[in-house]
């Protein structure tokens, strides 16, 4: 038994040490669960000859990991949080890379009748009045903060919905699973939705408003705050992410024949 | 090492006196039998003399230091304690503890296995054998180190006649080979068969310590008389 164990350890130790230069990037689950990272990262790794380790967590945790210096850079989609992050000096700047859209998912029979709303605010007003379930991320992620922003714009406190307002505190994918189980409405980013395999009875009921713009940005962790970060390699990664090649790859990423991300780096 | 002396030995638990005060002198020759009814304190006294119990008062003395004496003693418990190992491993155990070489230990174990008639079963798990077989192993295991002092606590209490005789024969043989035996029993017949001297215990007190003949001829106390007549001793 013990001999087997030692063999295992040796094999895996070999594998670990044979790897190229390591960089750690915390990304939000919506970036990963959309499948874009699987599409993009292998090219990046080959071109730059680095081993990019992705740690997929919620926005809050990503920011925390960046603050603690446990990652070399973060890729998130929550502008107010990002600006605060830069203000406190953990990153020297934020670099916009690409955007996608948020959509409102709901049951096929659309009991809240939001499908033909004139605009996003009207759709949410209908949701506030309808007697149907609404699942909220509840985790102060980028998506959750967007949802809060919309409720505030129509001056409505979603808690007034009562027990039908389901705050889950989970990642996008898990929240969608719950929405499917409850046959509920939920705000989701389009890419995660299209790539999600458990769609149940839900479909996109509303999309296309400017307010549903979802910006992803790259924030390298400041070497001043954490001297051990791989700043050189992070600079290369940033350079690659804003390159023509990345632009092509991002814009050509299709789910169900639809483009979901749009490159907008400058 | 001898004589062994118990001086003012007393054991009490939570203010309840179990045995004592006891004063005894055990000489080297012959088999000494500790006789008494159930509950008279035989087990407690034996364990106390051997050092398995803490004394509340008094002391136990040998002519050599107690730590030197410890290496020369062995104990057979009323209910045999078998290691979860084979018969051979159980027998060889005391030798292994003394770091005696494996080959010597194995040979000795085999010799004793034959003496107790268990040579066919030496590779079996000891705990799976019968009560009599386990007790025989316990006796053999106690004698394998050729101890100068062997304590036995009612070793044949629940055994059949044949096994009882076999063990008694081993004990007689060991005694004549230089091992001092102090054995407790409530079996009068066994006492008659084996004893040179008898220590009669009642209610935790030694009421008599004399030769077997004297004890049988002149029972020294009411309890001793009751015991000899087969009455229940209260």
């Amino acid at each position: 038994m013990r001999a087997l164990l030692i063999c295992f350890m040796l094999i895996l130790l070999q594998v670990n040490s044979a790897l190229a230069k390591k960089v750690r990037l915390a990304v939000t689950s919506s970036f990963h669960n959309s499948g874009l990272s699987d599409h993009l990262i292998p090219h990046l790794e080959t071109d730059l000859e680095i081993d990019l380790q992705l740690i997929v967590v919620g926005t809050g945790q990503a920011l925390k990991l960046g603050e603690n210096g446990d990652v070399d850079a973060i890729l998130v989609h929550s502008k107010p949080d990002e600006e605060e992050f830069v203000k406190t000096g953990f990153a020297k700047y934020r670099r916009e890379i690409m955007f996608n859209e948020y959509v409102i998912l709901g049951p096929t029979n659309d009991p809240a009748k939001i499908k033909f709303s004139d605009n996003l605010l009207e759709a949410f007003r209908n949701l506030s009045k309808a007697n149907t379930e609404f699942v909220s991320r509840g985790d102060l992620s980028g998506t959750h903060k967007k949802e809060i922003e919309i409720w505030e714009k129509i001056n409505f406190n979603p808690k007034k919905i009562g027990t039908k307002y389901i705050s889950v505190g989970s990642s996008m994918g898990k929240a969608i699973n719950i929405a499917v189980a409850f046959d509920a409405y939920i705000l989701s980013d389009k890419a995660t939705w299209l790539n999600h395999k458990n769609k149940g009875n839900l479909e996109i009921q509303f999309e296309g408003d400017l307010l549903l713009h979802n910006q992803y940005s790259f924030l390298p962790i400041s070497k001043t705050k954490h001297s051990h970060v791989e700043s050189q390699l992070v600079k290369k990664i940033e350079g690659w992410l804003v390159s023509e090649k990345a632009k092509k790859l991002i814009n050509s990423y299709l789910i169900e024949d639809q483009q979901v991300f749009t490159f907008n780096a400058e | 090492m001898f004589p062994l002396r118990a001086i003012d030995v007393k054991i009490e638990i939570k203010r309840k006196r179990l045995i004592g005060p006891i004063n005894l002198e055990i000489k080297q020759n012959g088999i000494s039998i500790l006789l008494g009814a159930n509950g008279s304190g035989k087990t407690t006294l034996l364990e106390a003399i051997h050092g398995l119990r803490k004394l509340s008062a008094g002391k136990v003395e040998w002519t050599i230091s107690n730590s030197l004496a410890a290496a020369e003693q062995a104990f057979v418990f009323q209910s045999p304690i078998m290691l979860r190992r084979t018969v051979a491993e159980n027998l060889a155990f005391p030798l292994k503890v003394r770091r005696i070489s494996k080959s010597v230990a194995t040979t000795e174990a085999m010799i004793w296995a034959k003496k107790i008639g268990l040579e066919e079963k030496i590779k079996q798990q000891a705990v799976l054998l019968s009560g009599g077989e386990m007790q025989a192993i316990a006796v053999a295991r106690a004698l394998i180190t050729k101890p100068k002092m062997l304590f036995l606590d009612e070793p044949t209490a629940s055994l059949d006649g044949a096994t009882k005789k076999a063990i008694e024969d081993i004990l007689i043989s060991a005694s004549s080979n230089g091992t001092k035996i102090l054995m407790s029993t409530h079996d009068l017949g066994q006492a008659k068969r084996l004893a040179k001297d008898i220590i009669f215990l009642h209610n935790g007190i030694v009421e008599a310590h004399c030769s077997k003949e004297k004890f049988l001829a002149e029972p020294p106390s009411k309890a001793a008389k009751q015991f000899l007549e087969g009455d229940i001793v209260l």
């Binding site: 967590v57 996008m172 | 104990f75 304690i81």
Partner: protein, 234 residues
Amino acid sequence: MNEISQGLIQAFWLVLSFDSELITISLRSLYVTLTALTISTLIAFPLAAFLAVTHFQFRQAIIATLNALMGLPPVVVGLIVYIIFSRSGPLGVLGLLYTTSAMIIAQVIIITPLVTSIAHQSMQELWADYRNLLISINVSKMQSVGILMWDSKKALITASLAGFGRGIGEVGAIMIVGGNIDNATRVLTTAISLETSRGDFALALALGFVLISLAISVSFATHWFGKTERGGLQ
């Protein structure tokens, strides 16, 4: 229900096709948990034996604490280990976060109380039986610890398997300290969590069935291995 049968079928094909990613994460799962288990037993077994054999003032308190620690929520352990090994934490310089080493450390903390408690339970019972014999034969405390561990082999195997089960199915702690990084720290349980969050229940279940089979295989292998060692007895 359809997903369960889908999952079973997918599991079957995954294994048959020797899917390389499946093999890698399965091996990694085994590596993390088996390493953690080995370290854990090296701590737990002697500790449990020591606690069984010695009586000192804080013994009861330590045993009670160990029993209570069995209920430690793994995710809390993960969080604490993360804080300690984070770059901003006291042991951050070691750079162990997001490596399998951190996962192993977390699992050792989670598994050890369980293995110790189970081992101790058995060894305590065995000691109650052995105690008088071993003291009588003048076995040292250290030797007693070794004897208890050896004679409790079967119970120790059970304790190990319990620890293995706890570790192989654990996800909360290793998710936090390992990060579920593709090609680095992803194991079966974290992969299941990922596929669930992607809504791919069939694949998640498939991985789950692989995990269950792995656990069962380890259990069978352990028992088979144990039997051949002892010549098929007990």
